[in-house]
Symmetry: C2
Subunit: 157 residues, 2 copies
């Protein structure tokens, strides 16, 4: 554990996994639209969305992706994580009111470069809605002992 409550590189083992659950409510979609600038009526206008093949409002795809980011930053590796890259395959729409379970799992560790390869997926009712892979950096006790203390304070997402 680092001083932020996240895992050190040395604590990580291939196969470790964590999940974060988030129900997408009306306010989340409105906030996400305002934060991102994506005001597509399919996300915001129930009457319009009901007339589409989705039959109702759909969460922004990047909102699901953001729950992955929250799982990496908040759970595994947790605070102190640095986002390097993320791939996202959008498999199914997520409807307003549905509950996203984002699961992240360690697939490979590169101790020399302080990098972690994670599989990342979001599911709704057991069906994959978004999947892909993330590469993240993380702090290590070794790295911190050589670095200025504040260099442990990196971010995920």
């Amino acid at each position: 554990m680092n001083e932020l409550g996240g895992y050190d590189m040395e604590d990580l083992v291939i196969g470790m996994s964590e999940s974060l659950v988030k129900t997408v409510n009306e306010q989340d979609i409105v906030m996400f639209a305002n934060a991102s600038g994506d005001h597509n009526p399919l996300h915001l206008d129930e009457e319009y969305a009901r007339g589409t093949r989705f039959g109702g409002r759909v969460a922004h795809g990047m909102l699901s992706a953001s729950v992955i980011s929250a799982a990496l930053a908040g759970r595994l590796p947790g605070p102190g994580t640095v986002y390097v890259s993320q791939t996202l395959n959008f498999r199914r729409p997520v409807m307003l009111g549905e509950t996203i379970r984002a699961t992240v799992e360690i697939r490979a560790l590169d101790l020399a470069r302080q990098r972690v390869l994670m599989s990342t997926r979001c599911e709704v009712n057991g069906k994959v809605v978004v999947d892909g892979e993330a590469v993240v950096g993380t702090t290590s006790r070794m790295a911190r002992s050589r670095a200025r203390p504040e260099q442990a304070s990196d971010l995920a997402g």
Copy 2:
């Protein structure tokens, strides 16, 4: 143009490009944190963030990514776009108050599968902060003439 104001597949040409500009303010970061569940103090706590190597609050990486999504959904191909996949390489942090320019450009067209390969990047002050590629689907006049009308109402992001 489709009836939502987005481009039809047949309107698209390799090399077409659009940008969307968004200044990341305090409210955006708070809204994004609430919508995603990512409450990392590096994004939210100025005092804490000032003590890190970033010297102040940093936008969530996925917030920059969301501006790409907004550029696809709002500009090119525009309304009617369907997100298929996105890759994201996080190159530099984006500080609170900085202005992100998201640029999307058509790289390849697959008319048979109704898919468009786009390069996607976010810049701050001319420096790349996030880059990658998106694959999106889009409606077409041909496809719509065969489909139920409401099938034109897909989404981006």
